[in-house]
């Protein structure tokens, strides 16, 4: 479904501040996979999403979505296959427009012609869909989205994303800005929608428990690389302590390498 080949992304190339945020990145995500991604701040998780969605262009490497080389495609063209949800609940909806207008805009991907599609049938369809959220939003379709709470907006964004029938969902810490109760509600909706619509999903999270509990595959990123990639049986038996242990092992190895490099460099310098 998604294939990334030798992807590399450097900011401020050619200046002293040049920083490689994604390096030598190879990843293959099969249809129907639900991948959770964890990593510390600055590990390159969001940059990875920006590269996949096209809001950022890679310095080198190739990106395939649905067996199509989309490396050169602008964001709005790739959007046909992608549903992206951001951490900020305000990012997915237009505040000063009504709920039904928002849903009308998002229910179909692609260019919009000057035709009126928001009719009684469409409204009934939206109402049916909103009932599934169990938030009472079906009675507030003429209200502005700005009157909704953060949790409601994120749930609505999620629903709108699903209605637009993308092949791949990119969830960027979409529950991080919500209180625990709303986060749980939105997370429940997420798993339900992913199951019902068989969405291929990549989900960034800061919550290790979430990363382990949800999904069929887990990636840990550090300094722009995948350092842990577990799926299947191994993922099923993963616990937070074991994950931390694994992370520590890899890190120690890194330190070892660094030490060797340093001593080696020192010797040749003499």
């Amino acid at each position: 479904m998604i294939r990334l080949e030798n992807l590399e992304c450097t900011f401020d190339t050619g200046t002293p501040n040049a920083k490689t945020v994604i390096k030598n990145f190879n990843l293959r995500v099969e249809p129907g996979e639900f991948v959770t991604i964890i990593g510390s701040n600055g590990a390159g998780k969001t940059t990875l999403f920006n590269l996949i969605s096209g809001s950022l262009m890679p310095t080198s490497g190739k990106i395939w979505i649905k067996d199509q080389d989309v490396t050169a495609h602008p964001e709005y063209k790739r959007a046909r296959y992608l549903g992206r949800i951001f951490q900020d609940p305000l990012a997915g909806t237009a505040s000063n427009m009504t709920l039904e207008d928002n849903m009308m805009i998002t229910c179909k991907k692609g260019f919009k012609w000057p035709v009126i599609s928001l009719n009684r049938k469409m409204r009934a369809y939206f109402r049916d869909q909103l009932i599934h959220l169990k938030m009472g939003l079906e009675g507030r379709m003429k209200e502005n989205v700005s009157s909704l709470s953060g949790g409601q907006r994120q749930a609505l964004t999620l629903l709108m994303m699903v209605l637009s029938r993308p092949a791949i969902a990119l969830l960027d810490e979409h529950t991080a800005a919500l209180d625990p109760r709303n986060a749980a509600i939105v997370m429940d909706l997420t798993t339900r929608f992913i199951r019902e619509h068989r969405l291929t999903t990549l989900m960034i999270t800061h919550n290790m428990n979430h990363a382990i509990a949800y999904g069929s595959r887990l990636l840990m990123m550090d300094a722009g690389e995948i350092i842990i990639d577990v799926a299947g049986e191994e993922k099923a038996h993963l616990t937070v302590p074991r994950l931390l242990e694994k992370f520590a092992d890899i890190r120690r190895e890194d330190f070892g390498n660094d030490e060797m490099l340093l001593t080696g460099g020192g010797r040749s310098g003499r």
């Binding site: 207008d101 805009i105 692609g110 919009k112």
Partner: protein, 298 residues
């Protein structure tokens, strides 16, 4: 005089609707207006003196405005130039273009040609007073433009325009190219502005390349005045209040012109008044927001 205020207000309301479209809906402060307004006027005047019928002239003027808007949007989209600069570039270039359209003249009188208004006057003769017929005519024209705009904003494309000014990322995620939308939006907006210029030329009886100086400011002042009259977010009300704002703005300018001498004011001060009106609107809006009453965002 009273119907004069209304007629001028209604003519400028068409321009103000265009300004409202770019400034408020698209969040694209478009200064092309200062060039596309006289462009509409000179296209209209040229086609009328060339023997075209008024309806064809209006269509040509609208089309010219759309092209002017395309140029601004294309400069902004293609060269990643800030929208203000893109508008100023087009506006400046249009000054020369407008003189070319007038065949190397700066103005063109419309005294002995048939305009839309002479047709209206001919119809009104012996039936109703001409001034009233003209007023009703412009009420109808503005009503048609307003209803067409309202209808447009209820279409799928119109809704995306609403989202674009609000949340461009959301539009892109939806698989719509914001650049294409800006092209269409700024084009339509300037089409309306040029249409307004075409009517203004016929009403005043001449077209002048300097007709557009500071017009974008008066359009913006109309939009802001309207926002004080009606608080709403229904599109029908939004367009209505722009029209009312334009009439109110003209009324204030009339007062300034006819009674301003009491405080030593001359017609030359009117642009200053327009600017101060905008600043005052911004200040009041700001004050309301601080007090948490939630005025319309400026």
């Amino acid at each position: 005089m009273l119907e004069g205020i209304f007629v001028e207000g209604l003519i400028y309301a068409i321009m103000a609707l265009g300004v409202f479209f770019t400034f408020r809906i698209l969040d694209f402060p478009d200064l092309t207006v200062d060039g596309s307004f006289p462009m509409g006027a000179v296209i209209m005047a040229t086609s009328l003196t060339g023997g075209q019928n008024p309806l064809a002239g209006l269509l040509l003027a609208f089309g010219g405005g759309v092209l002017a808007g395309f140029v601004t949007a294309a400069i902004h989209n293609r060269l990643k130039v800030p929208h203000l600069l893109a508008g100023i570039l087009t506006m400046t270039m249009l000054y020369s273009v407008n003189i070319r359209i007038l065949d190397n003249r700066a103005n063109l009188p419309l005294l002995r040609v048939d305009t839309v208004l002479t047709h209206v006057a001919a119809w009104a003769e012996n039936r109703v007073p001409v001034e009233w017929a003209v007023l009703v005519f412009f009420i109808l024209v503005v009503l048609i433009v307003k209803l067409a705009l309202d209808l447009f904003f209820h279409t799928d494309m119109g809704l995306v325009f609403g989202a674009l000014g609000n949340n461009e990322q959301m539009v892109r995620v939806q698989g719509v190219n914001p650049a294409t939308l800006k092209l269409i939006g700024v084009g339509l907006s300037n089409g309306l502005v040029a249409l307004s210029g075409a009517f203004a030329a016929q009403y005043q009886g001449f077209a002048d390349v300097n007709l557009g100086q500071g017009i974008v400011v008066s359009g913006l002042a109309s939009v802001m005045l309207g926002e004080f009259i009606i608080k709403s977010n229904r599109i029908g009300m939004l367009t209505l209040r722009v029209i009312l704002g334009a009439i109110l703005f003209k009324a204030i300018m009339y007062l300034g012109r006819f009674y301003g001498y009491y405080i030593n004011m001359t017609p030359n001060d009117l642009k200053l008044i327009a600017g101060i009106l905008i600043i005052a609107s911004l200040a009041v809006t700001n004050y309301r927001r601080i007090r948490g009453k939630g005025g319309t965002a400026a």
